[in-house]
């Protein structure tokens, strides 16, 4: 079975021909930080999203994951205080994971999925999340795998009344990646914030898709994409805002900033606003290749080359996002990885 047959057809990104041969490792990430109690491996009592998702990778993908997954995590956050779980994925072969996260009413938590595998591997992941009433989840995914790896990851979230999902997605490694986030803002005043950072050089390919589906009243979404492309990298960034009928007074925003460093990159942006309700505000903006000229001029007048100045501007804008991460260790680690990646992209 090829990925296409499995319902995954992302034309622009070259993918491994066959996924059937993958024999995933039986692997459980190390819990670097946080309580082990929260990570339960009993997948029988699952709370799964109740509604369909707009940008599903398809039932075949789901079946493939559920049949072949050897990594299954079920994480429950039920602490009133901030709860942090840091999962460290390293030293593994091919990986297929099928995860569930449930955030109980009025609980708060942060989950860090830190992929830094040094071996060349294939990763297929599906994470289903339910954020219950008044709950808050911060999900940080840092992907810095071996540069020949494949990384295919889907995250589906359902948010109930007054719930909040914050995503920080940092893509630095792997050769080809498909990242797909889809959130159903089902509850009243539910909210989701996506922050996507990516960096790619050589002949790497990225297909990033962030979707917010406004169903409940007064829901809010915010999609922010920031990236740097060099070499012959290809990327497509799909930011989609859906406003269903009845999602009155909802607000959705989307913004994308891309910096292109070489003549041979290929950058596609597909922002979409799909609106079936009048009482909403939807906005999106994209800017490609442009940076504040005054800022660049200032830096260059201080002796930096144009490239250095550009990179300084972009790395500071990346760091702006990372600075928001509350945990110091994770913040430090992310900053280090981003710096390393910036240096790689320059070289």
């Amino acid at each position: 079975m090829t990925l296409k047959e499995a319902g995954i057809d992302f034309k622009r990104i070259p993918l491994p021909e066959s996924v059937v041969q993958i024999t995933p490792d039986k692997y459980t990430p190390e819990i670097k930080k946080g309580s082990k109690k929260s990570v339960i491996h009993d997948v029988k009592k699952l709370i799964i999203p109740s509604l369909e998702f707009k940008k599903d990778l398809g039932n075949d993908f789901k079946n493939f994951i559920s049949r072949k997954a050897e990594t299954q995590l079920s994480i429950v956050i039920d602490q009133k205080d901030q709860d942090l779980i840091w999962l460290d994925y390293k030293e593994h072969g091919d990986l297929i994971e099928n995860n569930h996260i449930y955030v109980a009413p009025y609980s708060k938590g942060t989950i860090v999925m830190d992929y830094n595998n040094f071996e060349n591997s294939v990763h297929h992941g599906l994470t289903r999340i339910v954020v219950d009433e008044g709950a808050e989840l911060t999900l940080i995914k840092i992907q810095n795998n071996h540069l020949d790896s494949q990384f295919i990851d889907q995250t589906q979230t359902e948010i109930h009344d007054n719930g909040l999902l914050k995503v920080v997605d940092i893509q630095l490694g792997s050769k080809n990646m498909i990242i797909n986030y889809d959130t159903n803002l089902k509850g009243y005043k539910s909210k989701c914030v996506y922050k996507s950072l990516y960096m790619a050089a050589d002949d790497r390919g990225l297909d990033l898709s962030f979707t917010a589906n406004h169903i409940g009243k007064k829901t809010q979404s915010d999609i922010l994409g920031k990236g740097v492309l060099g070499g012959e990298a290809k990327k497509v960034f799909r930011g989609t805002l859906h406003f269903e009928r009845g999602a009155v007074q909802s607000v959705g925003k989307e913004e994308e900033v891309v910096l292109l460093l070489s003549e041979t990159v290929k950058a596609d942006s597909i922002p979409a606003l799909m609106c079936s309700e009048d009482d909403v505000i939807g906005e999106h903006g994209a800017s490609i290749g442009q940076l504040d000229e005054n800022r660049l001029f200032y830096l260059m007048s201080r002796g930096l080359s144009e490239k250095e100045a550009k990179l300084l501007v972009i790395s500071s804008s990346f760091k702006e996002v990372i600075e928001d991460i509350a945990d110091e260790d994770i913040k430090l680690k992310s900053l280090e990885s981003v710096d390393r990646s910036i240096n790689y992209v320059i070289a």
């Binding site: 942006s269 939807g282 999106h284 800017s287 290749g289």
Partner: protein
């Protein structure tokens, strides 16, 4: 509960007037080689044109109906009469045009335009051009303005060189259909260095039940020349589904400028699957002003191919989708040369269950460095029965570019209304002002009488009611 704004439907008035059908020739329903040969024979066409038609028919048969965008499953192409010719010969003066046809045109405002001596009027009635006049001074300058059929006979070398080269029959099924059955349309040729200082107008409409209209417009603006061409369409309402698959090919040569304005106001049962393209050479400029109002389904994406250095394109478009309408419109810009610039301004209004879809594409190729482009899409959605989608695709293969894109969707801001009301303006008037302000950038691009017509088309009857 928030107040809803009521915007009335376009007052179609004269556009729904149906004249008695009188035809000398009406082809059988359906499409085959025989029909194509008949059409060509009827038009007394040279063989090379017949060959092009037959080749297109072949391609048409091999191409599937597109499945993306609008739902075309109700469209039964086989049962559409592709060619209808009214029994009036080419007229040289307005007086000779038959009364009922004249009356309709008069009600559409064409004689007024004539009176104001704006330009030659080429109005297409059904599939043939029935009335044509062109100012003597244009003729003296060497400007050619005629119908496509005459152009095929009188200027074969120009037609041969350009015909269906921008829109090739291979592009999609309806382009192939057009290539096979095209009929009527305008042909304009502006020689090098000539600046036409008043707009040329053509107004055509469909009048026979089940008749498709496949007019072909070809405009060639030579080096350093200038032209403003206006095309308006309207058709009466019928119960049989109508199809419009026209083609517009515009060639803007080095340093030339062309402004192409069009208001498409088809009846509510029309499938408007029009293809429009412009190729712009170095330092040339194309300006599109496009209004889409009527029709049941529209799929219309005027495309600018900027193939010469410093070529420019500007697109200003407005779409108004009311009940039962699916208007899938947008624009494509292909930056294929360095230092090319483009501006896209698109507005849409949807109400009463109408579906407005902006589908845009902006592409910069590897060669196209120093490209500058801005895309702005604004959508106003007037009630929660309506749907408004925006899908602007940006594809970039080059690092030395500057592309900005912005889109906004929403209803009339309560704050803006509150502000105006605090200045003593009644609520209904405040809303009307905002909606008028919203479409104003488009109306100001049109010549006066078209702007008036546009304002008539969007008869905004605003009143605040609790929704």
């Amino acid at each position: 509960m928030a107040k809803k704004t009521q915007v009335s439907d376009i007052d179609r008035g004269v556009y729904d007037i149906i004249n008695e059908e009188r035809h000398v020739y009406r082809s059988d329903k359906g499409l085959n080689e025989e029909i194509i040969r008949e059409i060509s024979k009827e038009k007394n066409e040279p063989d090379w044109m017949l060959e092009k038609r037959l080749k297109s028919l072949e391609i048409y048969k091999s191409k599937p109906v597109p499945t993306w965008g609008a739902d075309l499953s109700d469209l039964d192409v086989e049962n559409i009469v592709h060619y209808v010719k009214p029994d009036v010969e080419q007229q040289h003066s307005w007086d000779e045009v038959p009364d009922d046809i004249k009356e309709t045109f008069e009600r559409l405002g064409i004689p007024e335009a004539e009176r104001k001596s704006l330009s030659g009027v080429g109005a297409q009635y059904d599939s043939e051009v029935v009335y044509h006049s062109i100012k003597q001074e244009l003729v003296d300058q060497g400007v050619i303005y005629t119908d496509m059929e005459s152009a095929v006979h009188d200027y074969p070398e120009i037609v041969k060189k350009y015909f269906m080269t921008l829109i090739r029959p291979y592009d999609h099924k309806f382009a192939a259909l057009h290539g096979a059955v095209w009929s009527g349309g305008s042909f304009v040729y502006v020689p090098e260095g000539i600046e036409v200082d008043f707009p040329l107008q053509s107004y055509f409409r469909l009048n026979a039940k089940g008749a498709g209209q496949f007019e072909h417009t070809m405009i060639v603006v030579e080096k350093g020349a200038k032209l403003h061409f206006i095309e308006g369409c309207s058709a009466p309402k019928y119960s049989v589904q109508n199809l419009h698959a026209g083609a517009v090919e515009l060639f803007v040569k080095e340093g030339a400028e062309l402004r192409y304005s069009t208001i498409e106001n088809w009846s509510r049962n029309m499938y408007n699957l029009n293809t429009k393209r412009a190729a712009v050479d170095a330092h040339g400029k194309i300006e599109w002003v496009s209004g889409s109002f009527g029709s049941k389904v529209s799929m219309l994406y005027p495309m600018s191919i900027l193939r010469g250095e410093y070529a420019k394109s500007e697109f200003t478009g407005i779409t108004f989708a009311a009940e039962g309408q699916y208007l899938d419109t947008g624009t494509k810009v292909l930056h294929a040369a360095p230092h090319t610039t483009s501006i896209v301004n698109s507005k849409s209004i949807s109400k009463g269950g109408g579906h407005a879809f902006y589908r845009g594409m902006l592409k910069a190729t590897k060669k196209a460095h120093h490209v500058k482009s801005t895309v702005n899409c604004e959508s106003l959605i007037l009630d929660n029965l309506s749907v408004s989608d925006t899908l602007p695709i940006i594809e970039v293969e080059n690092s030395n570019i500057d592309i900005g894109h912005e889109a906004k969707i929403g209803r009339i801001s309560e704050e803006a209304i509150f502000y105006l009301m605090s200045r003593g303006i009644p609520e209904a008037e405040a809303k009307a002002m905002i909606v008028r302000g919203f479409v104003e950038p488009i109306t100001k691009e049109l010549p006066l009488e078209y702007a008036v017509e546009l304002n008539n088309l969007i008869t905004l009857e605003l009143e605040g009611v609790v929704g």
